[in-house]
């Protein structure tokens, strides 16, 4: 993990705090940065990620909007085209369907269709992740939808440190970036240094090294993979956990290097297994590292069902450490 090792005592921040800090620092650094969305000002979002920002930056830069995702996303696209650097807050990732035309046909296309004369430096922050007992319309992980569209960058942080560094890069990027935060990780604590830093988009991070099997994991599944890797180590299997951090651009090199070393790969993501992020990464591995594989690439993702409201059923749809351990043990023989 690319933490500065000279730091003797690094403060611990939650992932939510790390994102707020990134936004605040960027807003202080660049007056063009503003945030707009539902319940983001005084409420500080339903997850309290933006608490305090409206007090510091005022309602002109932290704008509460009506419940009108297509509208305020379109405003953000236009604002970005005309020189601002807006951050759109879509409360639940389940609602990105409402923003699709603005994101897919406007934000993603304008730089290309204007022959490079226009650019859309905006960020869409939204959430993903199940097990919050929020039922089928507030629990999905739909980031794969944006991954499918040329012109959009897609970021999925898995730690507070990554979240802060990636958010800063997303804001500074000249292209539209979709930034997916797992709502179950907002309280996850981790080391975040005080000084300014960014993490480039398109650089994967090896979160744990191992020789026997590679687990490519995204977002909260990185934490599940790390837990599984600890249990696998007790069983004599060295699992390497690779976090792509951004799904587009995708750091194929780091993934392939790891798989060529271990010869086995599990790809896990909280999106649906079918036609999803896992399928894409598994294909990258199969196409470029097939003759380094000892076993077929294994996908582990959300069960292909609407997320149930029933807690036991909801839990059953999400990959667990045990799911990963069983798969890894079967593959390593």
């Amino acid at each position: 993990m690319s933490m500065p090792e000279t730091e003797t005592v690094v403060r611990q921040l939650t992932l939510g705090d790390a994102i707020r800090e990134a936004l605040a620092e960027e807003m202080r650094r660049d007056s063009r940065v503003l945030i707009l969305g539902e319940d983001i000002a005084e409420a500080g979002t339903v997850f309290k990620v933006l608490t305090g920002l409206v007090e510091e930056f005022g309602p002109d830069r932290v704008l509460d909007t009506p419940i009108s995702e297509p509208g305020f996303t379109g405003i953000a696209v236009g604002a970005a085209m005309t020189g601002l650097r807006p951050v759109v807050d879509i409360m639940f990732g389940d609602f990105i369907g409402l923003t699709m035309d603005q994101m897919v046909n406007q934000a993603a296309k304008i730089h290309y269709m204007s022959g490079g004369k226009w650019k859309v430096p905006m960020v869409m922050r939204t959430t993903m992740g199940a097990t919050r007992r929020s039922a089928a319309q507030h629990s999905q992980s739909l980031h794969a939808w944006f991954c499918h569209v040329p012109g959009l960058k897609v970021v999925l942080p898995s730690t507070p440190y990554d979240a802060k560094g990636l958010m800063k890069s997303a804001i500074r990027d000249e292209n539209p970036v979709a930034f997916f935060e797992d709502k179950m990780m907002y309280k996850l604590k981790g080391p975040v240094p005080e000084e300014d830093y960014t993490i480039p988009l398109g650089a994967a991070d090896v979160k744990r090294e191992g020789d026997d099997i590679t687990i490519v994991a995204t977002s909260s599944m990185v934490q599940v993979a790390l837990g599984a890797a600890g249990r696998l180590a007790e069983r004599g299997i060295g699992a390497e956990v690779v976090d792509p951090r951004t799904l587009w651009p995708l750091d194929e090199t780091t993934i392939l290097e790891s798989v060529r070393k271990t010869s086995r790969a599990i790809v896990m993501d909280e999106g649906y297994g079918r036609y999803g992020v896992m399928a894409e990464i598994a294909s990258v591995i199969a196409e470029q590292a097939f003759f380094d594989l000892e076993a077929p690439v294994k996908r582990i993702g959300a069960m292909h069902v609407p997320i149930p409201f029933s807690p036991p059923l909801e839990d059953a749809t999400v990959p667990t450490e045990e799911t990963v351990c069983e798969a890894a043990e079967a593959m390593c023989g």
């Binding site: 010869s263 097939f290 003759f291 380094d292 594989l293 000892e294 076993a295 593959m331 390593c332 023989g333």
Partner: protein, 398 residues
């Protein structure tokens, strides 16, 4: 009325056969007697005929599969009929249950060696790549992965151990492997003893010269010393049944027929092609049979029936300039005669030094079947027969 097609037992000691290729595909109509598939035994490749009219169905052994003798490999069913689900592992005994098609009727060249892939389990892509890079035969690799899959590590381990033993030696062919197994089995299990006789081959030479033109005319084949020795040895064996017997684990089995094998060099080793009923066969028949088998051996198209059922073997290295040698018995036979070259030597003739065409013959015997005296009596009679072939009535062929 589904009829099973089983892996035929084409030789006495055959335990498995390998499917080289199917000449009919599943669903094809087949007629009884039509070639159905090619099978490679340890010694030969042979076409197997359909044993019924119907439709080929339920093929269980793909090309390359090595299958135990007697196991069902497919079914011939009535049109529309399903093959039975249950595997009928019927014993066929050692009899040839399916007649091989005459090789002469199949002018196409020998089938390519089967890949023999299907008896293996899973092989990882990495293992395949490493096997190709290191020249490792995956048949020789023991898989340690899930479900016994062969992994890259398994291949590297095999490559390393192979590298230590023989630097990238190619894997042996079926013939070479069988030769290694059978000679080891014979040499380590059959207590060999050797009796040597020097015989005057003058009469043999003269007899050969006398019969040669007639046999050439009548049979179109050149009579050889080996042909004469096969016929003579078989006729002498008729008087020495112990020499024609076999050790069967618990005791001695007398063999009713006298089938004399002739050791023949093939590409990867040696096989003993058999002249059946050599004690009653005429010289011309022996010569034709031996010549045909020698040609098929060179072409790699020996039939299982060519190498099956031998009860005694003759190995002649005279044409290689060998004076004398000892041979390893072909199990489960009791004896093998090693024949050296005929060379002019100075020997006493009627009390005076004379130059005679001399030949050294060495009999290897299995002491579990015969003892020294019995073997000596046989060799003595054979020596006498060689000294006077005419006494055995060896004529052209009548």
């Amino acid at each position: 009325m589904a009829k099973s097609v089983v892996m035929p037992a084409l030789e006495m000691a055959q335990e498995t056969g390998t499917v080289v290729s199917w000449l009919k595909q599943e669903g094809d109509p087949v007629a009884k007697g039509e070639p159905l598939l090619e099978v490679e035994t340890d010694k030969a490749t042979v076409e197997v005929e359909a044993n019924a009219d119907g439709v080929l169905a339920g093929v269980k052994a793909e090309a390359g599969a090595e299958v135990p003798v007697g196991q069902t490999i497919a079914w011939i069913v009535a049109p529309g009929e399903e093959p039975p689900a249950e595997e009928a592992a019927m014993a066929t005994g050692r009899a040839m249950s399916t007649a091989p098609v005459e090789a002469a009727s199949s002018p196409e060249p020998a089938a390519p060696r089967p890949a023999s892939a299907s008896r293996r389990g899973k092989i990882s892509p990495k293992a395949r790549r490493l096997a190709a890079e290191h020249g490792v035969d995956l048949d020789d690799v023991q898989g340690t992965g899930p479900d016994g899959a062969i992994t890259g590590d398994d291949v590297l381990a095999a490559a390393q151990s192979a590298g230590e033993a023989t630097a990238s030696a190619p894997p042996p062919s079926a013939v070479a492997r069988l030769m290694a197994e059978r000679t080891t089995e014979s040499w380590t299990r059959a207590p060999h003893f050797f009796l040597v006789r020097e015989v005057d081959a003058g009469a043999l030479d003269a007899h050969r010269e006398a019969l040669k033109p007639a046999i050439q005319n009548r049979h179109g084949v050149k009579l050889t010393h080996t042909d004469l020795l096969v016929a003579l040895a078989a006729r002498v064996l008729a008087r020495h049944p112990k020499m024609n017997a076999s050790w069967e684990g618990q005791g001695i089995r007398a063999n009713e027929r006298i089938n004399v094998g002739v050791a023949m060099a093939v590409e990867d080793g040696v096989v003993a092609a058999v002249v059946p009923d050599a004690d009653t066969a005429g010289l011309g028949d022996v010569a034709v049979r031996r010549r045909d088998m020698a040609e098929r051996a060179r072409a790699g198209r020996l039939l299982p029936s060519d190498v099956a059922g031998g009860t005694f073997t003759i190995s002649n290295l005279g044409m290689y300039g060998i004076d004398a040698f000892t041979a390893i018995i072909v199990p489960p036979q009791a004896g093998i005669l090693a024949v050296g070259k005929i060379a002019d030597r100075v020997v006493p003739v009627d009390g005076r030094p004379g130059v005679r065409p001399m030949m050294t013959i060495t009999l290897s015997s299995d002491h579990r079947v015969v003892d020294g005296a019995q073997a000596a009596a046989f060799l003595n009679d054979l020596a006498e027969a060689i000294g006077d072939p005419g006494a055995f009535g060896l004529a052209t062929n009548d």
